[in-house]
Subunit: 229 residues, 2 copies
């Protein structure tokens, strides 16, 4: 077991062997083309050239494998920091546009869509269900929320805060402002893609959509250029 830590490559930070990450990669491949039904223990084992026994030793059970897939994939997105100082109106506009485009890019990714479909399909209206009592599993959906969505939310929050500190934006509730920005950027594109709409058809208008969204957002929350700045 100690070999795991030493052989851990520089790519991932979680305590997983390169081998195990490779297995997760195979599992993600299966998920992308074939959906949740395609991610069977036997299938993953065959695709990754490993034994089912190893799967169960590493991930506990199938749910553990699915959770690990989400965590693994989430560990890939890295948020780029933006220096808050010296932020011009034009610079803010550009940064927002880049953020918008990145957001659309992430949301329309194959794996992202597959993972979201998986988590959503797994979710059930009535929570609780304390039958066995050992429901320590964080519900996949929650996991995806924490690991994925929250990250990009923070990046946006930082950007918005920088804009306000520079006197370029005016808002009381940062979350509300971010919600508006998100809505303007994404609209119903995410849902449509989750329902099967071909991302390629929508990707063509990403640039225009991002630009329009940012313009609208600045029209709502932007401060007149005549200010002190």
């Amino acid at each position: 077991m100690q070999t795991a830590r030493e052989s851990a490559g520089a790519t991932e930070r979680v305590g997983l062997t390169d081998r195990q990450n490779a297995v997760l990669e195979s599992a993600l491949n299966l998920l992308v083309e074939g959906g949740e039904k395609a991610v069977t223990t036997a299938g993953v084992a065959r695709a990754a050239n490993c034994s089912k026994e190893s799967l169960y030793k590493w991930f506990g059970d199938r749910d553990g494998l699915l959770s690990a897939m989400i965590s693994y994939q989430a560990g890939k997105v890295r948020t780029v920091e933006v220096d808050a100082a010296a932020l011009t109106a034009d610079g803010l506009h550009r940064h927002l546009a880049v953020f918008a485009h990145d957001l659309l890019d992430v949301l329309s990714g194959d794996v992202s869509l597959a993972l979201n479909r998986l988590a959503i399909g797994q979710t059930v209206g009535k929570t609780n269900r304390g039958g066995t009592g050992r429901s320590d599993a964080p519900t996949l959906g929650r996991l995806l929320e924490e690991r994925g969505r929250r990250q990009i939310g923070r990046r946006a929050a930082i950007l918005l805060e920088a804009g306000r500190r520079a006197g370029l934006l005016a808002f009381d509730d940062a979350d509300e402002a971010y919600g508006t920005l998100y809505g303007l950027i994404v609209t119903d594109a995410h849902l449509r893609m989750l329902l099967g709409e071909d991302p390629k058809a929508l990707k063509k208008e990403f640039a225009g959509r991002a630009e329009r969204a940012v313009t609208s957002f600045l029209a709502l929350y932007g401060v007149e250029a005549t200010a002190d700045a």
Copy 2:
């Protein structure tokens, strides 16, 4: 088979017996609490006090049953028409607010969420799959899109068109304007709920959210009151 048409109650318009609709209702109940896994042919038969054989006679197979569930539920939402004539700025604002609140209400409904989860969970990235060749099934997702989303989209389109005709709104592309409106209203609330967030926690802020969304939308697309109207 002809008995179906005569015994069809006044509640539904599709060619289904009241009995069959009752079965679909039971199936929806199962789906809401228990997710897709809970909708087994045996389970539905037991819950609806009918035989599996009848299920297969009426709906073909399990996919047919799921499709019928979507179509059945979609047949419940009715779009209320709004008289385009004599539309004041305040009236438009109120109509938009009502629409926003209705939209959020629909999207946060138990059955709506369950159905969306079902359709999304069923969807798979790689389309095609022409293996057998008899893939005439419209992909659940497409079905939900056509039957549900499109409907509410039309209602919004009519409202927006009325606003423009009354000189209260200014936009070139109606779809784009509707997209903006949708994004402002829904933001990421739908996704969060699909991922398991308790709708009750979000429903409290629906009124405020709807109001803010409409205000923002009018700030973006509204025409100054000094116009000819």
